[in-house]
Structure formats: C-alpha cells, structure tokens
C-alpha cells in the first residue's frame, strides 16, 4: 500500500498563488521610478509578468475543500518566502548589470533583501540603475514585518487562516489578536509600520534639506524603507556613513523602534504606554544594547588608531551596536578596522536580536530572557528541590512547554550556526581562499540571523561576492530558514509531515 500525501498542499499552493499575484503592486513602484528616471522598465515588467503567470498557475490548483491547517500553513510560509524571493531576483537578472546578473547572486541579493538580512553581493554600486537600487529597498520593506502579516492584511480570502500563518511565520509567541478580526489586526500593525516609515521619510528628508544635500528624497525613501524594517540595504556604498552625523543619529531611533514589539507600540499609541515601558523584554533589549554600546565605546576610546573624536566615538559605538542588535546591518564606519574587543562585542550583539513581534530577526530578546530566568530558577530549585517557581516575564508566568521550546530553538540555532560556519570555512578552503575562523563565524551568524554585514571581506563596506558561489547558495537557504525561524522548513523534511 502506498502512503498518500496527507497535506492539503493545494491550499498552500493556492495561497502562494494569491501572494504572487499581488506582487505586481510593489513592483509597480520601481517601475514608475524607471519611467521617471528614463531607465529601462523591462526588468520590472518581466518580474510582473512572471508573478502574474505563476500566481495564476498556482491559484488554478486550488481545491476549495482544503483547509489551511497548521501543516498547510508551514508549507505555505516556506513556499511563499522562497518564491517571493525568487520573483524578486528577476529584475537583477534581467537588468544584467554587475555581479547580480548571475542567477545565484541575484537570488542571494533578493533573499538577503526579503529576509531583511542586508548582506550584499554588489561590488560597484554605481553601475546599477536607480530603479533597480530602489527595488532592493522595496523588497526589504516588504519583508520587514513579514509577508504573511501583509498578506493577511490585504488579501481578504485568507480570513482566519491568517492567524495560523502569522503563528507559523514566527515561532516565538501566540498571535496577539488586537481586534476580533485577524485581518483588522494585521491592518493595524501594518498601519503602524506604514506610519513609522512615513515619519522616517519626513525626518530624513527634512534633515537632508537642513544639513546634507546628499540625503535627497530618493535616499530618504530608500533609507526609511530599510531602517524601520531593520533591514540594512542602502543605495550608498558607504551605507549611512555617507551622511551627516546628525542623520546618523536620526537613524538610530528608527532602528530601535522597528525592533520594538509592534503590539506594544499599538498599545502605547492608544493610551497605554505603560504596557511598553514596563515590559521586561523591552528593558532587557535596551539594556543589552546599552551595555554593548558602552563596552564598544570604551574600547574605541582606548584604541588610538581609530582617531575618532569624543562625539564620533559615542556615535559609532551606539550606531553600529544598535544596527547589529536590531539586526539592521547599516554601518556608519568600517568597523572591520576596529580592535578585536569591539568587534567581538558586535559579534555577541548579533545573537541578541530585538523584541518578539517586531521587524527584527536573530534569536530575539524574549528567548534569552526566558532562558536566563529559567536557568536562574534551576539554580534555586537545586537548593530547594520542592519549590514551585513559575518563570515570569512582565508578571505573566510562562508555560513550561514554551520554555522547553525555547531551549530547543536555542540549541537548534547554535547547531545550525556552527555547521554553517564549518561549511563556509571548508568551502573557502576548497576554493583556495583564506577565510579566518572569526570571519567564518561572523558570516555564518550574519546570514543565518539575518543581520547583514560580517567581518573581513564581508564587512560593512565589503561584499559577499568574495565567497565561493557554492557558499553563497548555501547562505541563500540559511537566510530563508533563519527568517522563518527554522521550524517551517525543517518540518518539510520529516516523513510525518507528509504522510501521517
């Protein structure tokens, strides 16, 4: 007897089709820019055609009888993230300019964009058209909150399936329904995202008018897209370092807000700021950032070779730590040149991540906080074996099952991260390149945790194009897995998922 497939894959594929069919909307933005700047619209027209064709093909397989259960949601999440990245790579290939003309590189750039990683394979920024450079920014903005929250907000047919999807997209917590309707909840969250993006555009643009002509409207929009999304691409080769110090300072709060829980921001806007201000995860996350920034600042002060003044020292410490901890990946200066102590602080910061329910990636503060608190409890119960002590976060006790899940996730992340580091080192050796252990660890962390720049050649002002092609292909998969928090992809490789 043959085992039959027990997953309602048609529901997943149909939903993927819905999302793909909606992609022409964001693609229209760079298309209009191309017309405005008199550049070739063909890259975007090609992508629009493909997304419409794929969308229609996928939707035609739909079987209305199939429901979107947890399994189907996992499959849909994995498929959607991968295929949206694939469609997003088309304009780079069709434009055929620079390193990203190669399909694997284009996929790397697109996946790095969509997952808000921000690692780039571009070598020379100046050869690309402005519209293609803007497309990099748009992809990041789409991926910021998660495509599926966006899909739930705009595609009415998803309905309550959206709760399942949002749950599968981020493993960290239950979906917080702010209102009875999940689509309405998604719209509110997106409304905040939209509002913050708009605010960032205004702030950057006005500051640009005041202090730095290089921050024109194009750059204001481009950077607003990737700072609130904690994404990190910049059309400028020097990243945010290209702008006036005042603008660099202005970017920090947007990165920080972007990695603050949007649910708590919603409450703060609606007259309950205490829910945010008293939130322990928020404290932990700001505390971690502050501590790391202080240590980096001290390290920079003690290192005469950097040659920063007092303001610049503090600015670079705060900016780059915030950029790494929030998983954005902007840079204000080339920190590859810093002393090892400062660099290792940044490396540690990569694993922290912002808050659950934000645009951030990486491990996320909540998991560390729960792990640390439960470890502290273990120490206590070693002395008082009979004591019953729930782990509490912001006064709410966390279920034991959730704690075990967090331990499992941490372990799994660390295992994958080390394996990836090994792959990078070995593959570089095979290709006859010299990659140091620290650089390999940095590159593994930065791609898997969706941060962006690493160290060495892949530093903030460097490029991932120096890695062998095969390594980059592995990284594409790892960025994808990292962004949707491992589980939705791993379950696809279990027999039970398909047959039981």
């Amino acid at each position: 007897m043959s085992t039959s497939i027990r997953v309602g894959w048609r529901a997943s594929v149909g939903l993927t089709g819905d999302v793909l069919a909606a992609l022409p909307v964001p693609l229209a933005f760079p298309l209009l820019l191309a017309f405005y700047y008199g550049e070739s619209p063909v890259p975007f027209l090609a992508a629009i055609a493909v997304s419409l064709a794929l969308g229609a093909a996928f939707r035609s397989t739909r079987d209305p009888a199939e429901d979107l259960g947890p399994r189907e949601a996992f499959l849909a999440v994995a498929l959607i993230w991968f295929l949206v990245a694939a469609v997003g790579a088309i304009p780079f290939v069709v434009a055929g300019v620079g390193t990203v003309a190669h399909p694997v590189n284009a996929m790397f750039e697109s996946m790095s964009g969509l997952t808000t990683t921000g690692a780039t394979v571009l070598r020379d920024f100046s050869v690309h058209s402005r519209s293609v450079m803007m497309w990099r920014q748009v992809i990041q903005w789409l991926g910021g909150l998660g495509i599926l929250i966006l899909a739930t907000a705009v595609l009415s047919e998803i309905g309550v399936g959206g709760a399942q999807l949002m749950e599968s997209e981020s493993q960290t917590q239950d979906v917080n329904k702010l209102t009875p309707k999940i689509s309405r909840t998604a719209q509110l969250i997106w409304g905040i995202y939209f509002g913050l993006t708009g605010l960032a555009i205004a702030v950057y643009f006005l500051l640009g008018l005041a202090v730095d002509p290089q921050m024109d409207l194009y750059n204001a929009v481009a950077h607003a897209f990737t700072s609130v999304a904690t994404a990190g691409f910049s059309p400028e080769p020097l990243s945010v370092g290209a702008f006036h110090p005042l603008i660099q300072w202005a970017v920090v709060p947007f990165m920080v807000i972007g990695s603050t829980s949007f649910v708590l921001i919603y409450f703060a806007i609606n007259g309950e700021p205490m829910r945010l201000l008293r939130n322990e995860e928020f404290h932990f996350y700001l505390g971690a950032m502050g501590t790391l920034a202080s240590i980096v600042a001290v390290s920079l002060f003690l290192d005469p070779s950097t040659g920063f003044g007092a303001e610049a020292t503090v600015r670079h410490a705060v900016f780059n730590v915030a950029s790494i901890v929030t998983t954005t990946g902007y840079a204000s200066t080339d920190y590859v040149l810093w002393a090892p102590a400062a660099k290792h602080m940044l490396f540690m910061g990569m694993f922290v991540g912002g808050m659950v329910g934000s645009t951030t990636c990486s491990i996320k503060s909540l998991r560390w906080l729960v792990a640390l608190k439960s470890f502290r409890r273990n120490l206590y119960t070693a002395i008082h074996p009979e004591s019953v002590r729930p782990v509490r976060i912001s006064g709410k006790s966390i279920e034991e099952g959730a704690i075990r899940d967090i331990y499992a996730y941490l372990l799994l992340s660390i295992v994958i991260f080390f394996l990836l580091a090994v792959v990078i080192v070995v593959d570089a050796e095979r290709a006859g390149l010299r990659v140091s252990e620290f650089e390999a660890l940095g590159a593994a962390a930065t791609t898997f945790l969706n941060i962006g720049p690493a160290f060495g050649d892949a530093g903030p002002y460097g490029t991932f194009a120096t890695f062998p092609l095969s390594t980059r292909a592995v990284m594409v998969v790892l960025m994808w897995i990292g962004r949707i928090e491992i589980i939705p992809v791993l379950v696809l490789f279990t027999k039970a998922f398909w047959t039981s």
Binding site: P70, V160, A163, D174, V175, K177, T179, P180, K181, I182
Partner: protein, 445 residues
C-alpha cells in the same frame, strides 16, 4: 455589530461561526485551551476566563457590545453573565437555558435576570420535534414571532383534496393566510378566485395549529392525526414538552418513563397522554404494547446510547418514522446513516435559533423561498414609520411592491390580518415579498 459570546461549547462556537463573517465577535470561555484552539478556527477574539466575572467582561468590552450571548452549559452561569453584562452596558442580552422554570419566570417579568431574550433548549427541541412530526408533507417550515406564527410551504400532490379548489375554498381556517403560490417556477400572489392546481407549491402563514389543520387538508395521507400512534420514549424535559405540545395539536401520544415518581408526575401533568412506567429497552414489553404498530416513535432519553438502541429496536419492529434526540452533534450523521429517520440535536437547534434571532434583531427574520424568488420577513413596526396607522388594504393599494401580509402579532398574541386591519407601532408583521423588493419593504418599516 460587536457581539460577545460567553461559552465556547457546541452552541457558542456555532453561533460565533455564523456571526464572525459580518460582525466583530469576542468569545469568552473558562477553558484556556479551548479559547486558544478557537483562535485559529474562527476569526474572533478569544478571551480565557469566567464569563460571569465583571473583570473578564470588561476585558471583552461588554460595555460597548451590541449583543451579549450567554450560552454555556449551565443555566445559572448564563443568567448571572447576562445580569453582569447589564450592569456594565446596555447591550441586548440572550441567555440559553435548559430549565423551563427559568423561562416561565422570565416570561412573567419584563427583563428578569437582565435577560432580553431567553432560549430554552428543551422547549425549542420539543417544538422542533413536533413540527417534524406534524408536518411531514411540508417542503419547508419556519417559525416566526417566537413560535406564535408558522410559515409552511406545501407541494400540492396528485389526489390532494385542495387541488382544483380556489384559494377561498381551501383557506377555511380562521388564523391562516394564503400568501403565495409558485407555479412552474413563477410566483403568483393568490387572490380569492385563484385556482390551485396539482404541482403548485402553496405558502401559508398562520398559527401552528391552523397550519397543522391545513396540512391535513392538503395531504391527509401523509399528515398524522389523532388516529395515529405516537410513542414518546423517555420522560425527560424534552420528552415531557414534546408530549405536551402534541396534546395541544390534538394528538394522543403515549409516553414511556422508567422512573416511578417521574411517571406519576407526567401522568398528572399530561391529561391526554397515556403514561407507561417501564424500561423501554425491554423488547417483550414493546411487543406487548404494540409499539411496533406505532406510526411514530420519539426517543428522548438522557443517554445517546439508549436512544440509539431504542431507535434501532423500533426500526426493526417496523415503526414507520423514528425521531431520535441526539445530545452529541457528532452522532447525528451516525444516527441518520443507520436508518433513523431524523436525529434532532438540541445544541444545533439552540444555536440556529439564537443565530436567527440575532439576524432578526439586526435586520429581520427571513425565510427564503424557491431559489430566492420571494422572502418571508418579520418586521417590527416602529412609531412613525410609513405603515403604522393605516389599514392594510390602503397600504397595498398605494404600494407598487408585490407583497402579502400573512400574520400580525401584537403583545405576543396573533392577529389575523384582514383588509381593514390597522397596523400599530410595535406590531410584528410577517409578510411575503418578492426578493427584489425586500429592501423597499424593510425601509418602510
């Protein structure tokens, strides 16, 4: 609307599912796992907690709710939840109860328990069973005005006594109105001299008793009467109410109840029913009492398993129609698959009634006929609307919309509409109208 549903059991879930698409729904359940599960099943906000506590109700924002529906499995919980909701806000409260005692209390006092509308599961189920028993010939039956009025649609079969008669000849009943005839898919608004032909579908509106009598006229073969043997097994509240309603419709049922005290009580309270005290699973007793010759057997014991056993026994003995009360909705299909004619589930019945009522209070109670050619509406007339204070004949003459008023209820009593009847504010008017004109009519009320 903003609706708060308290209790996420079968009834609450079913109600929330029907309302979720068009309204904002919040569901409160005391079981956190159930609340969590529901979050992914329905597009509603779920809150885990005790629905009677004002803290939880505040969290559910009952103060701004248009409607609060308490439908847990416990009567007292539901009443307290409604009472609490009334202290927090002024939403319309609906309570589900099992006990007919509470229903009587509530009917006796305006707004008792803070409940604006009470649905009694057992009574509702009994009404459902009696409707099924009494009108097998009907294509469609719908209750209106809280059960005071019924709408029924009959197909006029070959050999039916009313075939070939005019409407005025067929309409011999005081509290019955002929509102529509469908012939070859077309709707005819009947007048006194309209002929009724074989194959027509006739829609009548009136009191349940008169509809029952009319059914006997239309299909004397299929419609049970006093001569028919009806056996109710089990003197539960549902069994008792079923027997009582059957008595009201001029039937003479028999009721089997095992418990001596209960049987005694039933016999005292059901003058026209033969109550027998015995175990209904005893086949020898069933044979002795000729239950095999019964036309209809209703099983209303408290256990699904026993109901199943007796239903199967009755079917094997050769009973024509067996109607079983099935407490677990999951078993309904099982019952029907093994040949039990009709399985009635009290929870489903309750959920449907509450859902219908919520629609009613928003728009109007609606029954759709013949592929949506016509609808039967129940409208509550407000002070100063275009229909109040005018006789019906005048309204019909002035309006270019095709509609027929079938029944009026005033202060919970049925008023049979005649041309000279003057409509008053607060009347519930049940009328048939062409689907295209529904909004015109609704806007007049």
């Amino acid at each position: 609307m903003y609706v708060v549903v308290i209790g996420a059991g079968e009834v609450g879930t079913s109600i929330a599912a029907s309302l979720a698409s068009d309204h904002e729904v919040v569901v409160v359940d005391v079981d956190p796992d159930r609340a969590e599960q529901l979050k992914y099943e329905l597009d509603v906000l779920t809150i885990a907690g005790d629905g009677t506590s004002s803290e939880i109700q505040s969290a559910a924002e009952v103060d701004r709710a248009d409607m609060v529906i308490a439908c847990t499995d416990d009567d007292q919980t539901n009443l307290v939840a409604c009472g609490t909701a009334k202290t927090l806000g002024d939403g319309f409260t609906i309570a589900r109860v099992k006990s007919t005692d509470f229903l009587r209390t509530w009917e006796g006092g305006e707004g008792a328990f803070g409940v604006d509308f009470m649905v009694c599961t057992d009574l509702l189920t009994a009404e459902n069973i009696v409707r099924v028993i009494g009108l097998p010939a009907a294509v469609d039956v719908d209750p209106f005005a809280g059960g005071l009025v019924q709408m029924a649609e009959f197909e006029i079969a070959e050999g039916s006594p009313v075939a070939g008669q005019t409407v005025s000849e067929a309409d011999r009943f005081e509290s019955l109105t002929f509102v529509g005839l469908f012939r070859n898919g077309d709707m005819i608004i009947p007048r006194g001299d309209t002929d009724i032909a074989v194959g027509d579908r006739a829609v009548v509106i009136g009191s349940p008793e008169s509809v029952q009598s009319f059914a006997t006229d239309v299909a004397p073969e299929a419609t049970p009467d006093r001569a028919d043997e009806i056996v109710v097994v089990g003197g539960s509240e549902i069994g008792y109410q079923t027997a009582r309603l059957l008595e009201e419709r001029d039937f003479r049922p028999r009721l089997i109840e095992q418990d001596a005290d209960r049987a005694r009580w039933l016999a005292e309270n059901l003058p026209d029913t033969v109550v027998m005290e015995h175990d209904a699973t005893d086949t020898e007793f069933l044979a002795r009492e000729h239950v095999d010759e019964a036309d209809i057997v209703v099983t209303a014991l408290r256990s699904d398993e026993k109901n199943l056993l007796i239903s199967v026994l009755a079917k094997r003995l050769g009973v024509d129609r067996v109607i079983a009360v099935v407490d677990s909705p999951d078993y309904v299909t099982v019952f029907e698959e093994i040949g039990i004619d009709i399985a009635v589930n009290p929870r489903t019945v309750t959920a449907e009634e509450i859902t219908r009522f919520t629609y009613e209070s928003v728009a109007e109670n609606i029954a759709v006929l013949e592929n949506d050619q016509a609808e039967v509406l129940e409208l509550e007339l407000t002070e100063g609307c275009g229909l109040v204070g005018r006789p019906i004949s005048e309204i019909v003459a002035d309006s270019d919309v095709r509609f027929v008023i079938g029944a009026i209820t005033r202060d919970h009593r049925l008023v049979t509409p005649r041309g000279g009847t003057v409509l008053q504010a607060g009347d519930h008017v049940i009328l048939l109208v062409e689907s295209d004109s529904v909004s015109d009519i609704a806007s007049m009320a």
